[in-house]
Symmetry: C2
Subunit: 333 residues, 2 copies
């Protein structure tokens, strides 16, 4: 087996987040479903951006956030994602490498710009995402560096990769290489609307044992198993061969498998500013924990610590080193 160089390889749509605060009625005027992510074209991206007030720009992308979180914990992550040779791409590249993520996907020249997502934050901290995929649509199997996959303890991928056509092929190629090298493959369901778009494919990934580890929140797991009852969804998750890591917001998180199910409480957060990245950073802590052979409950608890940290400020990337945050919570990282 190849030497393990990376705690996790994260693969996803490389997106720059553009945050703006809006009131509740803005979502109604724009007919947007709170908490959803929708894909928009250039015209809509321009139109909506013009209607936003003051904005803040931070590198994002679900799997990118997870990779940054693992680096912030002191772990060794790698990342695959497609950015362009433009200013947003420069920022994205910098933020990844500056925090210690191995990120070397060839950049796109003279084609589509780096992807951006306009994230509307309502007063309750919920976020509604409007994503222009740009350069991400050019990510494909050719961008999957086999040696990195082989050297990563787990390859963690977004459900969102099902949106750009070629990215799906890259997902399957990476999963195959990972398993050929005795590595694990993880899928995050991304959001419940993403599950609605690709439910049967995601269920096949589970039954075909392409995916060993599933990340979901309550809405996503209920959507996957088409039930309104979370207990029914948990029972369904227990029947699969995969380990399911389930986040429950203020209720904490669970790790569910045939043999063992654990539940941990959420961390207390005084001032929830922006829920963006809570799930992504939970995955950082959980994946880091698994890579370091933590018990399931401890890995889930570290996930909750990371998630709690990120929702106290705007943006889905850690501001202060998570290594310090985790140490203060009693973890030896």
């Amino acid at each position: 087996m190849t030497e393990t160089r990376f705690d996790a390889l994260c693969i996803g749509n490389a997106i720059c987040d553009v945050f703006g605060h809006v009131e509740e009625d803005f979502l109604q005027q724009e007919s947007l479903v709170k908490g959803s992510m929708r894909l928009i074209d250039t015209d809509e991206a321009v139109r909506l951006f013009d209607k936003m007030g003051q904005t803040v720009r931070i590198s994002g992308g679900s799997a990118g956030n997870t990779a940054a979180g693992i680096a912030s914990l002191g772990g060794k992550p790698a990342y695959f994602g497609k950015i362009a040779e433009d200013e947003l791409g420069d920022s994205y590249y910098h933020d990844m490498n500056g925090t210690g993520v191995y990120f070397n996907t060839p950049r796109l020249r003279d084609s589509k710009p780096t992807a951006r997502s306009m994230i509307l934050i309502t007063p309750d901290g919920e976020r509604t995402m409007n994503t222009y995929l740009g350069a991400c649509t050019e990510f494909g199997p050719g961008d999957v560096d086999e040696s990195v996959v082989a050297a990563s303890a787990v390859t963690y991928m977004e459900g969102y990769l099902w949106d750009p056509e070629e990215a799906k092929k890259a997902f399957l190629k990476a999963a195959e290489i990972a398993h050929q090298n005795g590595r694990k493959v993880a899928l995050t369901l991304s959001d419940s609307f993403c599950v609605d778009r690709y439910r049967s494919e995601f269920l096949s990934l589970m039954s075909d044992k392409v995916v060993d580890l599933l990340f979901a929140n309550e809405h996503e797991l209920k959507a996957l198993y088409q039930t309104g009852d979370i207990e029914t969804a948990i029972a369904a998750a227990k029947e699969t061969d995969a380990l399911t890591a389930l986040t429950l917001g203020a209720e904490g998180a669970m790790a569910i498998s045939r043999n063992e199910t654990v539940k941990v409480a959420a961390q207390t957060v005084d001032n929830v500013v922006d829920l963006t990245g809570a799930g992504d950073l939970f995955a950082s802590g959980f994946l880091f924990g698994l890579a370091r052979d933590y018990k399931l409950a401890d890995a889930a608890e570290l996930g909750c610590v990371c998630a709690a940290n990120v929702i106290g400020h705007v943006g889905a990337r850690p501001e202060r080193p998570l290594k310090n945050v985790a140490t203060q919570s009693g973890f030896e990282v």
Copy 2:
């Protein structure tokens, strides 16, 4: 007299802020003076950026922040500043116009990029700025739109405008037009190092009555009058023909003139995250108050309300409408 279309015209270096959190020893390793702003060239900008970890990008620039704050209060500000035709410039243009600032300075093509400042935030919330001026060095007298100056109740300018050579000429031209039209001229001292660079010129602006209204914090006023004692500096300010608005951090603020001196307390802030913009947003509230014929003490208090709001999050621009914040504090804006 021309009809008043703008509560204030703000003129300054149009800069995109790039924020990153660093530990105290980072400043020592880089031989940086905490709380200062220094100008850097392209090589140094690239070198320092590479050493920063995760970053956040928000439109900034001292006078730009002040203009955005006035708009956020529901006022009518205008802004002059030089940006390029690039992504950072697009963001800057959007943020200004999206929040209601009249901003129409011709953009620079095929030349220097939009300016950026790398702002290092230490755990105490202090910020140390490293500014690459880029397109700002091309701002000059030709960018001063006479009709806008004539229609603005006050023209408010940064001391930082003394750094790019042509910007200084633009400052003096704008001041002349303002006075020809019976308008007021305000100067903010920007930072104590800026005062050290241009002390005699700033003092001449006061004695020559080019400046009617001076904004300073404690360090800047002491630097201007070359004293270590704030009471001595206040006494000196009282002897000038200008009105001096003095911010005192946690001690609040004062308005000082020959005839009247008032002091107001600071607002309580539970969680100071980043002091960037406190002075800029104080100026927003104070200028808005003066334009609306508030009493001096009320204008100073509105300034403190705006300053308190901005230091609770990263970045020098309001996240939520200051109009709502001011209303909650009992102001009718």
